[in-house]
Symmetry: C2
Subunit: 177 residues, 2 copies
C-alpha cells in the first residue's frame, strides 16, 4: 500500500464552525456515486434532513441510517438515550466499514459526538485503524479531537468568515436542511 | 425582503486552499434537488469531472455547462482562449440567474477566474446585484476577492489543515474528480 498510495482509501475529516462540512461530504458522495462506487452514510445526533434523505433514497448505491432521534443534541442538554443512540450509530458505521459492501462510509457529526462524550474517542480510532484498505472514510463535525485529526489523511477546517444567522436569517428548507 | 429575510435567496461563497469548496456546493445542490428546487451549475476553468457530470446528468432538475476546455487553467499559463471561455461561462450563469428557470445557480471556480483576470470583478458583482431575490447563488474557488466576500451573505474559508497530496498521494477517480 505504501508503494501504491493512490489506491489506498483515505480518511477525510471536515471540521470547524463554518457551513460546508456535511455538504462537502455529500458532494464527495455524489461524485463517488457517479463513478459507480457504493456508499453508506451514518448520521449521528442529527434529525433526518428531509430534502437530503429524500434525494439519497432515490439514488442507487447509497444507504443511510440515522441515529439522531429527530432533534439536534446539544452539549449542555444530553439525555440518557443520546449516548445509546450514538453507540448504535457507531455499530452501524462499523458494520458498513467492515462488511465489504461499501467503498465510501460517511460518519456525519461523529466529531461532535466524540467531543460531547456520546462516543468513546478510542472506539472511533479503532474503527479507523480496522478499516479495510480500500474503504474511504469521511468524518464530519465541529470540535474534532486532535487524535482524530492525526488519524485522518485529509483535514479541512471550515472557517466561518460570515454567516447569515448572525444577521437573524433562519435556516432555510432546501438549502440548509 | 428585510421583513422576511429567511425567504430571500442568499449568496454563498466557499474559498480557501482546502478541499471541500466544490464538494460543498455539490452537497447543497443535492439537498436542493431533494426539495424539488431547480439548479444550474456553470463550471469555470475546470475540465469536466466525469463522475460528477455523469451523476448530475442522471438527476432531474439540474442543468450544467462547462467552460473549462478540458484542462485546468493555471494562473501562470493563461491562453487567449481562456478569457473568452470564462466570459462565455459568465454569460451562461447570468442567463441562468435571470431567466427565472432556476432556484439555485452555482458558479464553480468563479473566484479564481476573477483572481486570474479571466473575468472582470465588476461583472461578477453586477450579476450578484442583479439577481432576482429568490435565486440562491453559490460561488466557489480559491483567492476570493474581498469585494466578493463583502457581497456574499455566507462565507466559509476551507482551510487546508492536512492534505494527502503533500505526502505524494495523487488525486483519485471517484473521490477527487
Amino acid at each position: 500500500l505504501v508503494d501504491r498510495p493512490e489506491e489506498r482509501g483515505l480518511v477525510y475529516l471536515f471540521t470547524g464552525d463554518g457551513k460546508g462540512k456535511t455538504s462537502a461530504a455529500l458532494g464527495i458522495v455524489l461524485r463517488a456515486l457517479g463513478h459507480g462506487l457504493r456508499v453508506h452514510i451514518t448520521y449521528f445526533m442529527k434529525g433526518n434532513s428531509s430534502g437530503e434523505l429524500s434525494i439519497l433514497s432515490k439514488l442507487p448505491n447509497v444507504d443511510f441510517a440515522s441515529f439522531g432521534g429527530g432533534r439536534f443534541v446539544e452539549g449542555s442538554n444530553i439525555k440518557p438515550g443520546d449516548k445509546e443512540k450514538a453507540r448504535q450509530g457507531l455499530a452501524d458505521a462499523r458494520q458498513a466499514v467492515l462488511n465489504g459492501s461499501y467503498d465510501v462510509v460517511v460518519l456525519d457529526e461523529v466529531n461532535l459526538a466524540v467531543a460531547w462524550n456520546l462516543l468513546e474517542l478510542e472506539e472511533v480510532l479503532r474503527l479507523i485503524a480496522d478499516k479495510p484498505p480500500k474503504v474511504e472514510l469521511i468524518l464530519t463535525g465541529r470540535q474534532a479531537d486532535t487524535r482524530l485529526i492525526k488519524a485522518a489523511d485529509l483535514v479541512t477546517e471550515m472557517l466561518n468568515i460570515k454567516h447569515p444567522y448572525e444577521k437573524g436569517i433562519k435556516a432555510r428548507k432546501g438549502i440548509d436542511y
